[in-house]
Symmetry: C2
Subunit: 333 residues, 2 copies
């Protein structure tokens, strides 16, 4: 009955951001969000439960996980055990094939893969919606790495109504997302702290009020494959989210929450210049300095040539993704 | 009766920004603002009226002014002529001792000096308030370069109620303001366009709602010489204003109004780091990329040493000001 299950999931990149929690315990967000799974980054997680284990054992990228991570994983395994009515402890072995501080949220792919592997290892057959809810409980945006392709996370009001679902399959639109990694410094303020501080911005209420329209614009442009409309809207949305961060009240330690660095700003300006010069590329930025560039597949070569000119040492440090599937089982034994 | 008058004025730097016009024709702002005159930058303007002139002649920094500038000056001279009931045309010769694109608004010192010189040349003896109103009609923030020291521009409701007055004399507080000039590119979007776009930001209403409290905080900290409180508030205010710019709707040309460049962001981060390391310095940024650093006089040497380390080629390109007087007459003949 106890199986060894290996599951994988891609991280996802939000084009309409999750920023602020209505319920921090359940990771219920203050707004719905929209994302795409990033095909060139992946977490692979193997889970096996055993009555012989005294406690959960968590390995991350080939080494013992730090206490905080191990504790967070154990709490998530508790959720799965409760669902299955089981008590055995587990061995969890998880690896990411992308750098920790790439500006790609590894907690999303990690908790998506963990939710799928652990639930299957205990014999559960959760629906996509149930898996999405479970993943969300572990790390909010992980719920978006469960469905395939372009995904909407409906904020909902409670545990049962806050989950993600597919808006369009990965093959709907042949986009390319270039994650430009120029900083691998761990960020000074985590996304969790950013969520907690969001509501201290004087602009947070106005952001929330505008989000339904932003979501509809981005989703409609996505479904219509209207790239300029999609790109401009997602770019404005990213800046809107960072304006909330920058105007947050972080006390006397700093005047705001600044995720951007010099190269972030350079790329923000450069993207505007590329478009003026006829190269249709748009950016988004998550809770960190690195920049993600969107273009249609036909423009990817031109964009990479531009990037190589602009940041010669960056060439090897860009991850180019296409829209990708959601979490999947790689093996069961 | 026709005199040759030379007047001078310092530019001023806002610690609570003017961003958005309630009446674009009269330059009545949507909010009150607070500034300090910058002692190490100056516009000097000589005006002489003559019945022999067919039209106004405007020289700027030793050369004929471009048509747009000349026209703007002529319209301002029309205001002075109306006040004096006179019709003679004038010769205007104006020079700035600071670079055009330093991130210091030369239109403020220019229209303050012009208002004083032209009114005196026609024999008018305007009060400080009248001069401030006249200067505002030429260029909004010019009204703040009329009074001495630390100055508040009361937004008012109409032409008569929108003027600037002294909050504290220059000697009230021995601050140093270091204008770090790393870009002398003319900005792509003028302040005037920025003002016009301000109200397209989804956050503009929230900014306006918060400004009375910001003004009281900054003014109270100024009067109490509470530097950490003053600094943090002015820094947050600058970022608030730039968040409005960045989230403005500029159409399809760009996703927002980005005045910042890579070095701007580097300095924003560096200022936070300096404070963490015990150097009390705060920034503000106007409608351009360059950064103005505030510290108390005792810290100026330490700040300059840090700047020299950080930006070795910048040393000669920083302007260090103390709070200064308002517009004054240099000579009358």
């Amino acid at each position: 009955m106890n199986r060894i299950v290996t599951a994988a999931a891609h991280p996802n990149l939000a084009v309409v951001k999750y920023w602020g929690k209505a319920d921090p315990r359940l990771n219920i967000p203050t707004n719905s969000s929209l994302s795409v799974n990033l095909g060139s980054a992946r977490t692979t997680t193997t889970v096996s439960f055993s009555p012989d284990l005294e406690q959960d054992v968590v390995r991350l990228n080939g080494a013992a996980a730090d206490d905080r991570t191990a504790e967070r994983v154990a709490r998530h395994l508790d959720r799965v055990r409760r669902l299955a009515g089981r008590t055995e402890r587990a061995l969890v072995d998880s690896t990411n094939d992308f750098p920790a501080a790439a500006g790609i949220a590894s907690s999303a792919s990690a908790f998506a893969a963990l939710s799928l592997a652990a639930s299957r290892a205990l014999g559960l057959r959760l629906s996509e919606r149930e898996l999405s809810i479970l993943a969300r409980q572990g790390s909010g945006s992980a719920c978006r790495s469960i469905p395939d392709g372009f995904v909407r996370w409906e904020a909902g009001q409670d545990d049962a109504s806050s989950y993600a679902y597919q808006v369009a399959p990965p093959e709907h639109w042949d986009l390319r997302i270039t994650t430009v990694i120029f900083s691998d410094q761990p960020k000074e303020v985590s996304s969790s702290d950013g969520h907690a501080l969001a509501q201290t911005s004087p602009f947070f209420g106005a952001r929330l009020a505008g989000l339904p329209r932003t979501l509809e614009t981005v989703q409609a442009a996505l479904l219509a494959r209207d790239f300029p409309r999609f790109g401009l809207a997602l770019e404005r949305e990213a800046v809107n989210m960072h304006a909330i961060a920058m105007t947050a009240d972080v006390g006397a330690a700093a005047s705001g929450l600044y995720y951007w660095q010099a190269t972030t700003m350079q790329l923000i300006q450069q993207v505007q210049a590329w478009r003026r010069a006829g190269l249709p590329v748009y950016f988004t930025i998550d809770a960190g300095p690195n920049v993600h560039l969107f273009c249609e597949a036909a423009q990817q070569a031109a964009l990479e040539a531009e990037l190589a000119r602009l940041l010669p040492d960056m060439r090897a440090r860009a991850i180019v993704s296409a829209p990708a599937r959601g979490a999947w089982v790689m093996s069961e034994a």
